[in-house]
């Protein structure tokens, strides 16, 4: 059997049955593992699903994580369409945190919410973009391999930020390497408050306005990449640089812009984290969302819809997995990690595992 050839499956089947089967396979293997360590797979699955989507708070947290992953996923995708593999999302988000913090510290005493909030977002995007700009520039002008430079820049950001948080921005007299709390006027309204405004009451979770921002970002992403001139140029550069030159596109500029856009998107993830949830900056508050973003983007085929779905999947896994680990002493957070790995494997890597079987099935159908 041959894979990767133009599939003979009807499109709808490719988009529905296939992923479903993959997810099923992932769960099956996970089930076996859970069974091996002596837990009841079905029960665990129930807890996991319920924990993620079964009750208000769970949903809230799931969507909160989803927000992070959407942003970092979009970030990776943006670079990907320009043919760049940006694994620096982590560092870019981290630096964006600095941008936010500085802005807040400078203005949260003076500016009202309506000015401060957009300002913070801009700062986040600006800092994220700036941190992505350097590798981009090096790639475009000096040809340094973006993968290496972004890896390096992650490490550099860790050091830089630890120094700044631990020695400069640290709350005076505090035990902990963390900044002072942001002023209320720099808090992204929490979902429960927003909905309370229109008379719906939901349990309090870190889920906040940034979620809508993420959805808007997806729509814009779609429009820009597939329906705008800039996106057209972006994809051309990403798929055939010679053609781009022939078509009179400024390749260098596009590459740099793409990376900056990528960085800016990662930056917005930290808006969700800092302004939406912790309201202060802790050391390594990003913990890994940048890397999850890679998986999300790849599994989402670098398309907003796919990204939303896979972000949701990972959000659910994070939240449901936590509840599972609460409920089952035998199931540690590492177990949850393993589950995530299997999901990535089956839904991402082995995506067309069942393609031929399904295809032959459809043939017989006809």
């Amino acid at each position: 059997m041959k894979f990767g050839q133009p599939s003979t499956l009807p499109r709808w089947a490719q988009l529905t049955i296939l992923p479903a089967l993959n997810l099923l396979a992932a769960l099956l293997v996970t089930g076996v593992v859970t069974w091996v360590i002596g837990e009841n797979p079905l029960e665990c699955l129930k807890i996991l699903v319920h924990g993620a989507l079964g009750y208000g708070e769970g949903i809230g947290y799931t969507l909160f994580y989803t927000t992070d992953f959407i942003f970092t996923g979009l970030a990776v995708a943006a670079a990907f369409h320009a043919g760049l593999f940006n694994i620096g999302g982590e560092g870019q988000a981290y630096l964006a945190g600095l941008g936010i913090t500085l802005t807040v510290f400078a203005f949260d005493k003076v500016l009202p919410f309506w000015i401060l909030m957009p300002l913070c977002m801009l700062a986040a995007m600006a800092f994220g973009a700036a941190w992505a700009y350097i590798p981009a520039w090096l790639q475009a002008r000096r040809g340094s391999h973006i993968v290496v430079t972004t890896i390096m820049f992650n490490f550099i950001s860790y050091s830089l930020m630890l120094y700044l948080i631990g020695h400069q921005l640290i709350e005076p007299g505090s035990q902990n390497p963390t900044t002072r709390e942001f002023g209320q006027n720099a808090w992204m309204p929490a979902m429960q408050n927003i909905l309370a405004g229109i008379g719906i009451s939901i349990p309090s979770t870190p889920l906040n306005g940034t979620f809508f921002l993420a959805l808007i970002a997806c729509v814009l992403f779609y429009l820009v990449v597939w329906h705008s001139r800039w996106g057209y140029e972006l994809r051309t550069v990403g798929t055939n640089e010679h053609a781009a030159r022939y078509a009179g596109m400024n390749v260098t500029k596009i590459i740099i812009l793409a990376m900056c856009a990528s960085g800016a998107l990662s930056g917005l993830a930290s808006v969700n984290e800092l302004l939406g949830s912790t309201h202060r900056m802790n050391v390594l508050f990003t913990n890994g969302i940048g890397f999850v973003g890679v998986a999300v983007a790849l599994m989402g085929r670098n398309h907003p819809v796919g990204i939303i779905l896979s972000a949701l999947l990972f959000g659910a896994l994070t939240q449901g997995g936590l509840d599972l680990s609460f409920a089952k002493p035998m199931i540690t957070r590492e177990m949850v990690l393993l589950i995530e790995g299997l999901v990535i494997l089956f839904c991402g890597g082995l995506e067309n595992l069942f393609e031929p079987i399904l295809a032959s099935f459809f043939k017989r159908g006809k």
Binding site: H227, E233, T239, H242, R245, Y246, G248, N250
Partner: protein, 509 residues
């Protein structure tokens, strides 16, 4: 009746919906040169790929030397003494000639001895067939002609008795082509069998003994070459009458559109690619640039199209000095806006994004064109509409604007590029190798369009390695050799020998 080297019986192959081959019957006599012709997408490459084990036939049997065989992969084909020179060369650019040749037939776990033997064997082959190549040259740096020789050597090194060549001359200069044919003849004398796919009837008539004609995935004729003439073949192939003569009226050219003064181009390694080029193109005339490939024509086109900066010299377009213009965007984009269209020599590398659907390729280079935009965004309707228009005007097949361009045959890919550039209704059209790898039906069509354009008062600068094409289209012919213009003559009184003489100068192989 001589005995048969190859016998194909009822071969069928389809890719998804496309039926590339529908029960094909074909017989190839030992020690003969067998031609296969057919329109783009007729199924020639597919058929040969099946014979070479690259694809598997859905049905049908293959007989080699009278024995039924199942060719499951190239390895088995090679073992049966079948060698193939693919249309898109199958070479590892970063390897040396030698490495490429021994690849897959290294003879032993350690390269050393294998290489030594190969070197020796290569010498013999060189002598036998006059296939000189420097065994230690890096293939990527060789010209196409030489690369092709490497491909042939590869096949012979593996002791091929049946040699398949898919459009070998599509990428060759006349000289190179002639040399190739000499080689093929020697091969034939050595008792080898040659199968030759081509779009060029002249070649078929020159050297083949038998011809098979394919159309729309079917075999529509197997004839002995001596029984047919050119027109006959053409009709058989296209399935209708084709007019091979480009009939164009004499016409007084208008004012100068493009004029180039003392243009020079030096590359990083200080090699002079263009030396003191001076030329003019007037409205309503086709200026042809003849020359062996790699003598600066490509560079000239790129410079004129704004993809490269000239080192010295001036270019005037409608009297305006392009050198002194301010460029906010890349030069190529600006020049397009000024009405200079450019059909690149290498369509799949530059002219198209194979991964994009047709309708997106329809605006490559014209992405800033407001007419397809709705506000800040493109209007997909407008894009598709435009593509459909192009498809109709240039009858591009299959006529589906949503199809990935990569899935079109090269011929049709070429039409897409042409259609796009002509659609922009430029005042100056820079066009390189307009009919490379394109079937005569399409050639006829393309040529007519070019003449129409000229008659509409456009200026056209045509670069081609096909002397026929140059002579039949151009009002004036410039000959380039070694980066210089070595001569000029009027289109009507140009003759192949005369041109050939001028071209003779700078063959760099």
């Amino acid at each position: 009746m001589t005995d048969l080297a190859i016998e194909l019986i009822g071969i069928c192959k389809s890719f998804g919906a496309v039926a590339a081959n529908r029960d094909i019957e074909m017989k190839v006599a030992k020690g003969s040169i067998h031609g296969i012709i057919g329109e783009n997408g007729a199924g020639k490459s597919t058929l040969m790929s099946i014979l070479y084990g690259y694809y598997q036939a859905d049905a049908g049997t293959i007989r080699v030397n009278g024995k039924d065989t199942h060719i499951r992969n190239s390895q088995e084909a090679i073992r049966l003494g079948i060698g193939m020179v693919h249309q898109h060369f199958m070479l590892v650019d970063t390897f040396t000639v030698l490495e490429n040749i021994i690849l897959g037939a290294e003879g032993g776990l350690v390269l050393k001895h294998g290489v030594k033997q190969a070197r020796a064997h290569l010498k013999e082959l060189n002598k036998e067939y006059g296939l000189e190549v420097d065994p230690d040259a890096v293939v990527g740096k060789l010209g196409v002609g030489l690369q092709q020789r490497v491909e042939i050597l590869k096949a012979l090194y593996r002791g091929a008795d049946v040699l398949i060549l898919d459009e070998p001359t599509a990428v060759l200069t006349p000289q190179e082509a002639d040399h190739l044919f000499r080689i093929l003849r020697t091969l034939k004398e050595q008792g080898k069998t040659v199968i030759l796919i081509t779009h060029k009837l002249r070649e078929v008539l020159d050297i083949t003994d038998n011809v098979s004609v394919m159309r729309g995935g079917q075999m529509v004729g197997n004839v002995r070459t001596c029984d047919v003439d050119r027109a006959g073949l053409a009709d058989l192939m296209v399935g209708r009458k084709v007019n091979l003569q480009v009939d164009k009226a004499q016409r007084e050219p208008g004012e100068v559109v493009l004029s180039v003064k003392d243009l020079n181009l030096v590359d990083r390694r200080n090699v002079k690619l263009l030396k003191d080029i001076n030329l003019q193109v007037r409205a309503g005339e086709i200026v042809g640039i003849a020359g062996v490939a790699g003598n600066g024509q490509s560079e000239l086109l790129e410079v004129l199209a704004g993809m490269q900066q000239p080192s010295t010299g001036e270019i005037f377009y409608k009297g305006q000095n392009l050198g002194t213009l301010k460029y906010r965007q890349p030069k190529a984009a600006v020049l397009r806006k000024l009405g200079i269209a450019h059909v690149p020599e290498d369509r799949s590398r530059e002219g198209l994004v194979k991964a994009f659907p047709n309708y997106e390729n329809a605006i490559l280079g014209y992405q800033c064109d407001r007419s397809v935009c709705k506000g800040p965004l493109y209007s997909r309707k407008a894009l598709v509409a435009r593509m459909n228009q192009l498809i109709k005007q240039f009858d591009i097949r299959p006529d589906n604007p949503m199809l990935r361009v990569g899935l079109l045959s090269g011929g049709n890919q070429q039409k897409v590029v042409l259609a796009r550039e002509i659609h922009a209704n430029p005042d100056l059209l820079l066009i390189g190798q307009p009919t490379r790898g394109v079937d005569i039906g399409a050639i006829e069509f393309i040529h007519r369009r070019l003449v129409e354009l000229r008659d509409a008062g456009k200026a056209i600068l045509l670069v081609s390695v096909e002397l026929e094409e140059i002579m039949s289209l151009s009002d004036r012919i410039l000959v380039m050799a070694g980066g210089q213009i070595t001569g000029e003559m009027a289109g009507k009184d140009a003759t192949a020998p005369a041109l050939g003489l001028l071209m003779g100068g700078g063959d760099k192989h």
